[in-house]
Symmetry: C2
Subunit: 401 residues, 2 copies
């Protein structure tokens, strides 16, 4: 029984929860996901500070023509300890704490300083050019919520809030097992009739780009004992990803080999193209996602099912890959009962996006997968569409894949 793409995604997601917390240095936290709200440890600005270079004055003294005695200077980091009395002023700079008694900042270009006196050339408005204590945040404020992917801007904000360390979700650990007598590592001797193993490397790169730690296990030959041996060490991982052998043909050994180790299969056939033989199960506490052996099928299944699992593991809120609307550059046939994901090139035309499916949708052609900007979504039983008709797409070019 084939299940739908949506049901497969829901059943896969249900098997994952956010990883626990880890303490990392601020400088290592970009791209990680906050495991707790980040609370300001101080108030910013710590006191009323000047927003400009000029002179701190009492409001009543800031009238055009007034001449004020200059009683000191307060460079940033060197506050003036005294108080500004009537008829007095203090030289001040951007970021300097406004001395006691200071009620406005007279811009330096609106003043003339000579002989220890400052002449006011433009009247001041009370409070002008003063940034108030705590206008950015106050000690105890949540400046960054939990479950947020930390941007460079967040790192700056966490620094300003005085955090040298941050609590983030532990990076998900994904074990990747490629199987098959016919595959070899790049640069190593290729067996007769064999090909170079590429799935594990593409998937490891995908996992790393999306916040996970990828461990590529040694290639397992088509041998149940070897597959079982590789699977024996997956207890410390958040996910075991296999590629190849997930179907139930005579040489598809992954399911029976893992079943013999105790794997419980949830489902293994899904109504999509490419990618029908997608297996999902659980081996002890570790979810197992069995991807097809075809590189294109494996990768598209990873985009649709592995990325949501990683999102949840990393501690982020579930969010399906955003869908965009485009016009189809070609006519499309009516679809059968399988959800079709067509590799396509995007053009940005003045009147909108145009997505043109490649003529070859063969799931073995990796070169076209690498060139694709988008996947055109063709749901089950979608009617035929003329060129120019509207389609939904997933933008691979924006998805970090």
């Amino acid at each position: 029984m084939m299940i739908s793409v949506e049901e497969a995604r829901a059943r896969i997601l249900a098997a994952f929860a956010a990883t626990g917390g880890e303490t990392v240095a601020l400088s290592e936290a970009v791209g990680r996901v906050s495991a707790a709200p980040i609370v300001a440890r101080l108030t910013q600005p710590p006191a009323d500070v000047s927003a400009m270079d000029g002179y701190a004055v009492r409001a009543a003294d800031g009238v055009a023509g007034a001449r004020l005695r200059l009683i000191g200077s307060a460079p940033a980091g060197h506050p003036f300890a005294g108080e500004i009395g009537p008829g007095e002023s203090v030289r001040i700079f951007t970021g300097s704490i406004v001395p006691a008694g200071g009620e406005a900042v007279l811009l330096q270009e609106d003043a003339a300083e000579a002989g220890g006196m400052v002449e006011v050339r433009e009247a001041v408005r009370p409070g002008q050019h003063i940034r108030r204590q705590g206008q950015d945040f106050r000690a105890g404020d949540v400046v960054i919520p939990a479950a947020k992917r930390l941007t460079p801007r967040d790192i700056g904000l966490a620094a300003a809030a005085n955090h040298p360390w941050l609590a983030v979700h532990r990076a998900p650990r994904v074990a990747i097992l490629a199987t098959g007598d016919e595959i070899a590592l790049p640069g190593e001797p290729i067996p007769p009739g064999g090909i170079v193993s590429s799935n594990a490397h593409a998937l490891a790169a995908l996992v790393r780009q999306h916040g996970g730690v990828a461990v590529i296990l040694p290639i397992a030959p088509d041998d149940a004992a070897a597959i079982a041996g590789a699977a024996a060490g997956v207890g410390g991982f958040d996910l075991l990803l296999t590629t190849g052998g997930a179907s139930v043909g005579a040489h598809d050994l992954v399911q029976p080999a893992l079943a013999a180790c105790g794997m419980v299969v949830d489902f293994w056939r899904i109504a999509m193209r490419p990618g029908k033989p997608l297996m999902f199960g659980r081996l002890g506490a570790t979810p197992v996602l069995g991807l097809p052996g075809n590189p294109v099928s494996a990768f598209i299944c990873a985009v649709l099912f592995l990325l949501p699992a990683l999102t949840r593991l990393r501690g982020l809120a579930d969010a399906p890959l955003p869908r965009w609307t485009a016009r189809s550059g070609t006519a499309l046939r009516a679809n059968d009962r399988r959800f079709d994901f067509l590799r396509a090139r995007l053009e940005h035309r003045p009147d909108g996006l145009v997505a043109s499916a490649f003529a070859s949708q063969d799931s073995a052609v990796q070169s076209l997968l690498a060139q694709a900007d988008a996947l055109i979504l063709r749901p089950p039983h979608a009617p035929a569409l003329e060129a120019g008709g509207e389609v939904e797409i997933i933008r691979l070019d924006l998805a970090g894949v």
Copy 2:
């Protein structure tokens, strides 16, 4: 004399060229930029292979009702060495090499096997279910061009093309120097009237997210000798980034201190808000970008000027940050002669994007910078705009910042 944002960007870009090459393991190459075309070292598929599980047959034998002798089996990785003669067939699987004489693959569901014989239940079309040798790529084909940011899909393709190592551009090395008597590292004692240094950490995270190596130099106090000392070691870097002290006030020591070391200043004032005091120059062979001290100003200048420099250094083609069209959620005042970059929140409404500028555009408010989804672009002398009017924006949420 203030220069325009566009002129500043052009003058900054002119100072940078792509870094040289570096050899990295395939598994380390995701996100890096190819320094040379990646050429296939083999042909894929290496021979005609089966696209399905079934039986390889001669085309003339593939007629409904024919009974063919099963002379062998060819699992993937175990090619059948003989030749298929008239009236013969070989069991075959997805990815198996089609034996000599095989001209089509009869699907297993269209066949009945018993007693060493295979009965054809559906006529075959010559060539059906055979993937031709080289249909993906041939040895010598360029599968990935130079100057491409390598995606997980490219890593898979490079693996399939048999590359254990790749030539990529060296990651740009950026030294970051924060200056000021008033700043302290997060978690360390804060001087009286001081604040926590956040710019260097935000900038380092930005550099790392965009393919660079960031080195945060020790904070330099407001002291010309200390700044000169920090600058003495920048010869090995592709860029020296400073924050704070870039203007020419009494306490703005960065320009004079670096000038005393031989820095040639290109410009130091730019008609934009936030961020007017932006300095650009060259110290020996190393470009120097002097960002403002205000965290918001510093970061927006980094988005506008540092990212394009990193793009060029990494070996990518120049491309300005993509601009999007949105409707303004608020009325906007007519602009003066400075290019204004308004921090804004985005809403995705059914009829399009709405960008609403925050009420406070104070360049010292980091919490709002971190919450901003977009920058609304207000070119010099832009006329007043009513709420709902069209604006151009830069999407911070999509820019990895």
